[in-house]
Amino acid sequence: MDFILAGFFEAIRLLLGGDAQTWSAVAATLKASTGSMAVSLVLGIPLGFVLGYVDFPGRRQTRLLVDTALALPTVFIGLVVYAFISNRGPLGGLGLLFTLRGIVVGQTILALPVVIALSAAAVENMDRHLRTLLITLGASRRQLLFSSLWEVRFGLLAAGLAAYGRVMTEVGISMMVGGNIKWHTRTITTAIALETGKGMFATGIALGLVLIAIAFMVNVSLSFLRKR
């Protein structure tokens, strides 16, 4: 029990004391997750809207594929992305291996199905009267799209939060694609794995608490927005 308690105090010391390594990992985590979430939301919400709203041929099969992608293991995504962006891979020339941009690519593949599937579910559950209401009040096609998205904003928020949770806590992609390079691609989760491997439980727990604190702050901010 002592080492858990020590971990808690170590977390406070690392954060308040401005430990450079800890803050480097925090910064790497925030950069990678922000990048991947931005791409996932920009691509995922419109795709989720189309999947939930438009009755196109092959819709059910597409839905099945997206739902299956929800269960993709992070190490498998890491493996595939590694294969593509390594020097021998088709995208090797882009120089993404062992970079934060490489991690962003992998985390986007992880988060995108979550955003698409949950956005589609939110749109599917949208009241069938909404379309009638918006058209009858004079909405154009574009206004119909944006007003419908605004009506399901809480569902979209939940989709974003769920995806963010997966991205923040994944370790497989960051480890395989990022390489866990100190001061460069070491994220909080890969740092925890490393510190635990070295027997530095206190530091591992401290970093875990930092991760939880970030997640808590994100949720508090979104909860505030929701109330508005």
């Binding site: 009267h129 009638t132 209401l133 009858t136 009040l137 004079g138 096609r141 206004q143 007003s147 009506e151």
Partner: protein, 341 residues
Amino acid sequence: MRSPIYQIDHLVHRYHGQPVLDIDQLLIQPATIMGLAGPNGSGKSTLLKLMAFIMRPDEGQIYFDGVPALPFGSVVRFQVTLLTQEPYLMKRSVFNNIAYGLRVRGQGEDTAGRIHEALEMVGLDPERFSGRQWSELSGGEAQRVALAARLVLKPRVLLLDEPTASVDAVSSELIRTASLRARQEWGTTLVIASHDREWLYDVCDEVIQLFKGRMTGTGRTNMIFGPWQEGGDGGFHKRLGDGRRLIVPAPPHAEAIAFIDPAAFRILDSPADPVAEHEACIDGTITRLSLERHSGRLYADVRAGSMTLVVCVEAAHVAAMTLHRGWPVRLAYRPERVQWH
């Protein structure tokens, strides 16, 4: 004569391949009130949605102001609005719900004043209701806010799909009054679908009967569902309870629906009067007398067993004032005047 605001030609619409609406032609003049009557599934709501340009018909054409119109078309987008049966509002405040239509039209001037006026029209105190959220309203209040969101637009056409079916009596009366004010004040054309036939016949310039997606006529009619039973004498009838029978000619099939024109019935001066040859008769009690506003005709609702028949009252009876609610009457009619669908 002015050109019609709506001209509907050879309109066919299907759900899952099954035709639900088949209208050869329908004309609606501007600033009139048209009623749509008919049982559930007769196509009233589908017709209103097509007239609101929410969906496009499978076949045929709807002309608006003489121009072929389609959903999102610039000709109709800001002209026509529809109020549906279920009170549905967006997840925002009353003010923002009513302001939405003004915003999409780019009409930002004096929004607060116009919303204030619209809320007063539907009998809601603007001070109390403007700031409320959609979730803080009762069903009747929500439907009145929904109507205010249409009235604030001062539409050229207001389509009402059973607007009072889900609300209490007070809200119902306020919705009816506010709808009629739209025509009085702005010359709005109203098309109203309702099961409340007394309301329809009271306010409408014309009432169209719809049945299984087809127009079966205008004005009042008696629509009588089976089952039809064969009598011992080879004739057919429907049992109405209390020993009463409605005698009809042979129906084309077991599920056929009989239509009888209210003018086909003749109220006998005295129940003891003999009926003419080939006439059948049925006894009942007058439950209501109503005046059709635009035609000036008087109609009587006659309760016969489990059914209420609408009967056109002849001028002689009106002059003699021999009919009152609760009076027993005998109706005579010729069974061959029954029409089948």
